[in-house]
Amino acid sequence: MKSRETGDGRWEMGSEGMSSRAGRRGIAIIPAKGPLSGRRRSLAALGMTLVLGVSPAFGQAGNAQRPAAAPAPNAQQPALDLTAVSLPIPAAGKLVAITNATIMTASNGTIKQGTIVIRDGKIAAVGADVPVPAGAKIIDGTGKYVTPGIIDAHSHSAAEAINEGTLSITSMVRIEDVLRQDGISLYRQLAGGTTTLNILHGSANTIGGQNAVVKLRYGLPVDSLKFEGAPPGIKFALGENVRQTNHTLQPGQQGRFPRTRMGVEDLLRDAFTRAQEYRHNWQQYDAKKKAAKTASERAALIPPARDLQLDALVEVLEGKRLVHCHSYRADEILMMLRVGKDFGFRVATFQHVLEGYKIADELAKAGSGASTFADEWAYKMEAWDAIPYNAALMAERGVVVTINSDSDERARRLYQEAAKAMHYGGASEQEALKMITLNAAKQLGIDKRVGSIEVGKDADLAIFTAHPFAPNARVDMTLIDGRVFFDRATSPTLEQLIEQMKQRKPHVASEEE
């Protein structure tokens, strides 16, 4: 009963990403009109290949072709299922206006009864006195709250695999290579207003794999997920997970280096020393190649052996690859900062960073962001000093702070998690909102594109039924690039499902016995 959504923070349970995987098999159930409960098994079996292959036209036509009478629960299901396997792929919004809404910009306060004009997927205008251009598709925002699309700074969704956990250095592996249209889980995150994910490699290794930043363009081919132009990054990890202290070694299995926090530092310094040497060798080779006077002289030069592990680390050394470092305790964070300083790179973000509040000044001084949980604690020894005031206290001391999910579950309600920064430590409303929007964009180096409602930025927006921090707030609509990727009005809901079941008497009778 008590097994919980587990993510990076709880990797020791050996289930990183596992819980989400169950959700990945499935697909969205379309609003529809069939006896949803009756198709559960076949839907799962059909899997998501259908989602990807279905065009919008097919989706609509399919609905239209729905048989008028439902078959018996177990008869001929696939025929019915085909009508309902894909969400309509949203039309590209050429010109859209959200009118009369409360607009929480995340950068410039809140606009009451404001209008947002979206042109070709970008925010063209925002304000209280913005005229609605002729021909715009209107989304009536009366009584609604609009926020920037939520950015989850720590996710493990949409990836086929999370942890290449065999080596302590796996900087050569890339999440990008195993991205997939992740089925229902991505849709459910959209339904929580989330639009961008930082998909990180797991925390099994001190130097993990390369991350991928994606937009939740659910329903489009997998190539469409990638956030074009987002700076590349890499996952590092410290503490209990990489030390494997919570693993039970199988008989015959050997422990892996490093086993202590001292060993972790050694591993990092060794890796970056090798990376420096590798870079030096390449620089020498390049210089000689440049200095070569003849083609035969050039041909005689032998290039250094290419090393994919070190390539990524050289990019870190050169500031071209952002380091996102899983961490808990203050001491290990300080160690990482020292290593970064000694090798001349900034750690872009510390992830989890549950003791960040103890060394907030050091984080601020180093210019490292902090991406933390709202109130998780006590799940392992290194989370014992975690406090929910962490986010607010670090922000107070000048750190760029985000609150992340690290979970397919929390990613559905990051707005509620952000409000905890107000509850614990008294962050302002805008500061709390920034922790799931603009600050995340800054940490990922995509703040020119997303993170706030400003002219020129991508029209990635969440429309709430109430103030996003209010207890009964629900997402009504989620837009990415001005396209509606989630709309509660056309989404299959429990209420709808119950209604359908009631209408199908024989079916209900069998369900109810």
Partner: protein, 447 residues
Amino acid sequence: MNGNWEPGTGNRAPLPSRSRFLAALGMTLLASVAQAQAQTGTYVIRGGTVVPIVGRRIPSGTVVISGGKIQAVGANVQAPQGATVIDATGLFVYPGMIDSGTELGLTEIGSVPGSTDTREIGDFNPQDVALTAVNAHSELIPVTRVNGVTTVVTSATGALMSGTAALIDLWGWTPDEMAIKPRVAQVMSYPSSGGGGRGGGVGGRPQGDASETASRQVRAMRDFFADARAYADVKAKLAAGGSVPNAPRVNQAMESLVPAIRGEMPIIFDVNTIDQIRGVLTLADSFKLKVILRGPRDAWRVADTLAARGIPVIVGPTTQVPGTDDPYDAIYAQPGVLAKAGVKVAFQTSGASDVRDLPYNAALATAYGLDMDEAMKALTINPAQIFGVADRYGSLEPGKVANVIVTTGNPLDVRSNVKYLFIRGEQIPLTDRHTKLFEQFRARPKP
């Protein structure tokens, strides 16, 4: 307020009133005396919006607390002499919230086995008493209560029969002092052959033989109940002066099931899928059990049946992903569906370190159809009724135990804070491990 001795509770005093208990046992422990004295404090909370849960809200109301109990609630209440006055102008007064399923006090740090007592070896341990292992000084307890959760059900879970749960207030020097009902219910898990997303099966057995395992477990469970029924019958016969040849000697496991098999003690069934729910209903019919469903995903499918049969449902945690093929809002929307059908609903977090998030679990349900007032009931009077303590808990009414929170707003709203906290009429400091670390490091000088 009477000593609420349960059948078969052995020597545990439930301690509704500490002073009476101490007097009865003739104890003179200094610390306890000091606490007993604190309990006699008289408080007047006035000027706030009083939300008594039972009865209408009072815009500018007064709540009087004395002798550990609520003495008066109303718009025009005389303040007793010498009372400590708490100005609640602009604030809200609610009863303390109740979490209907936790492991609080039984675990400290999840990954440190030495700190957890949540799962005994073996499938059948109905004789295990959760209260035995409740660490009254767990750091998790103050962290929970400062957020307005004053009372919890705590127990081991995960076995087919995990033993009895305790209903405890989050205040007291010993487990006994915390207890409201030392043995409030048996906790059981109904076997699952998988499905419904997470959590299928008991004991993490491989999926392949899950179905076979489940049917074997159901059979074992039924056998166990049948034995308990026979044991209870023999016991009744002996008690009536009859003689039974080869009467059994005392069997702890059977003994512990007697109250449940007689329908005097409810059984909390941790379930998930519709198959498990149906299984529980069948078991309840076979053995005339008083059952409570906890944690189901599929209860909405049989909401009307559950309402008609008066079976309460403890929902949650709502912070889960729905089953693979369920609508995206299934978990959030289920509590509203159940409440509308007339099912008595309460909430659980099912955790320990996150019990403080109880009101936010309910908040998610209000966004998807659960009425806000119903949600507050599901955190207060409903669990009090489900666990048979509604005469003492769950609302702000004269004579009830003074578990009272004074908040800056709706407790379901994450932005609200608890300003004052009373448990059994004692004002509890709003400090915990987290506030201490916060203050400590907030005061750290710039390096």
